[in-house]
Amino acid sequence: MKRVITGNQAVAYGVILSRVDVISAYPITPQTTIVEELSELIANGRLNTRFLKVESEHSAMAALIGAATGGVRCFTATSSHGLAYMHEMLHWASGARLPIVLVNVNRAIGPPWNIWSDQSDSLSQRDTGWIQLYCENNQEVLDTILQAYRVAESVKLPVMVVLDAYVLSHTSEPVEIPTMEEVDAFLPAYCPDYPIDIQEPMAFSVITTPEYFLEFRYKIQKAMEEVPEVAKKVNDEFRSRFGRGYAAIERYGEGEAEVLLVTSGTVTSTSRTVVQKLKGNGTKIGGMKIKRFRPFPFEEIYEEIRGVRKLAVIDRNLSAGVGGIFAQELKASLYSREERPEIFSFISGLGGRDITPNLIEEAIQYTVEHPRPEEEILWLGLKK
């Protein structure tokens, strides 16, 4: 069934179809319509789920940590300051190896207050041990949630599904909604290995000495390293069942591109039209969408940038004192490679300012015209 729905409604459909057992959440703009929609569905009896309407995001994640330890499928959604407030518990969820799925609607963190799209919230959580998946459109949002549970429950790590504020969260698009039966066949009921068991008492998250702590962290890294293969398998199966799929990295535009435009989230959609427009105008331009930020898709990127001379990376985020976070990660990942394209790090669209086709064209033009960037950070559309 195809319906015209917002990104936040797509999230709610993803949650229903995943047969989530426990939701715990706290409202924050622009996530609110997710929790409203879910509350409505539960009140109507369309969703047999416990919804804990907690007093803070910190408690939202803590409650899910309790519930997931109890062995049930869990969900929460948040944004911006809410995600920041959860920070301690994000570490806890991954440390306890709980396959919780969280939707974060990308929004700037204040001050100054700003409720619009900006990836600095989710990217600030990059070291918390969560898988991070960025979405380009509402269909991808729904589908990614279904896939997220499969991946999370397989590798025993939590997953953050990320969508842009307003551009997706509050914008309606046609979305194909799979049937419950189709999703049941794809996503079986959650069977935890070690849930709380009165008959077999266990202690969870017990204090651990220096003698073993390193090994606990090693196992998390190993689980992260399993993700590319697991996620690919899950995506392949998803594609065979539903006819759609989303790789960690997607190339578009000209095959033998000299310049590759690198984006994530909805900026990718705009970039597709720009790259299409510039086709046949001299320099060969391609595009690369990064969907999976954690674990960082090293191998997939190495595969996709063969022969590329320059990367034009557009970051809708800022790590002050360093620059764009995607650009930094790309630089770090390419350091040990023989083939190292020049990286142009553009920052644009912070706090929800539109990243227009003109700005993207400007970035491409700069990259084509310069052998290397004149500055570490290239600001797009900055009012000086």
Partner: protein, 292 residues
């Protein structure tokens, strides 16, 4: 007080890491007897992040979950939800939090859970300070007490927060105070809490030999003097308004309680007098509530 059978079951095993004379270890042993095997215990950060033992060992014979400092009320809400979803409505979810995790950093999560009337027992194991980190003051530390952050030159300037009044005003079905010198009373209250649904709160006073600067053999005696001096009266509150006092007939001046503890050894007579007056005022207030 009527005689009662204390269950023989021991769900706190050997080898735990509590200090000699730890009031909380006695409290825990008794509490687990009353709660029985069908119990899941949540430990926000406190001495009890350490006491049960280091990985891969546990001295508990029930499932226990260690949780973030702030999260007692929230984690327990989630555990309860999961058990309910799995069809287990019988097992009792119990939080065992310190006074720091209850009066201070965990108050928001506890208040949220109590407002939602989440179905669990919340036990505040109150040793009147951050004892696990080396005796710093909390909002449960009594007036004029010494701690490492309220040195004798500048002891605690504020009276202890009235956590029972706060919990009563959440109108939860059951709240009670208890302490180890009165084991029958403690067991009866846990047992009573176990039979009620919704948020139940037990304020448990557990003397701490290193933190209170008391000899380890005096834990029970000091627990008893806390009640006899009316510093820590024993009572129950049902639905936030029905108060029942367990009155101790043998009443002593607060001096008897204070003089045994190193943390109060710097007190002047006038300071003792202030504490005595405060205790009397609190007692009067409590009596009024009980009569209402």
């Amino acid at each position: 007080m009527r005689k009662m059978e204390i269950p023989l079951s021991e769900n706190l095993g050997h080898g735990h890491l509590a200090c000699a004379g730890c009031g909380a270890a006695v409290s825990m042993r008794l509490t687990l007897k009353a709660l029985g095997e069908k119990t899941v215990m949540v430990f926000p950060a406190s001495c009890w992040s350490i006491v049960p033992g280091f990985w891969p060992y546990s001295s508990f014979r029930i499932p226990v979950i260690h949780a973030g400092f702030v999260t007692g009320g929230a984690t327990a809400s989630g555990v309860r939800a999961a058990l309910d979803v799995r069809g287990d409505h019988e097992s009792v979810v119990t939080v065992w939090a310190g006074d720091g995790g209850t009066f201070d950093i965990g108050l928001q999560a506890l208040s949220g859970a109590a407002e939602r009337n989440e179905d669990f027992i919340y036990i505040c194991n109150d040793n009147e300070g951050y004892m696990n980190t080396g005796t710093q003051r909390s909002s449960a530390t009594p007036l004029f007490a010494w701690t490492t952050t309220t040195p004798v030159m500048q002891p605690k300037e504020n009276p202890k927060k009235d956590i029972m009044a706060i919990m009563a005003d959440h109108h939860i079905p059951y709240a009670a105070t208890a302490t180890i010198a009165y084991p029958e009373d403690l067991l009866r209250k846990i047992d009573k809490a176990k039979r009620i649904r919704g948020t139940r709160f037990i304020h448990l006073l557990s003397p701490c030999p290193p933190g209170w600067r008391i000899p380890s053999e005096l834990t029970i005696k000091i627990s008893r003097l806390a009640v006899r001096s009316r510093v820590f009266p024993l009572y129950e509150i049902e639905n936030g308004n029905t108060y029942t006092l367990q009155e101790e007939s043998h009443v002593v001046p607060v001096k008897e309680y204070l003089k045994m503890q190193g943390r109060f050894s710097h007190l002047s007579d006038s300071e003792v007098e202030v504490i005595q007056k405060n205790v009397e005022r609190s007692w009067e207030r409590l009596l009024k509530k009980a009569e209402a």
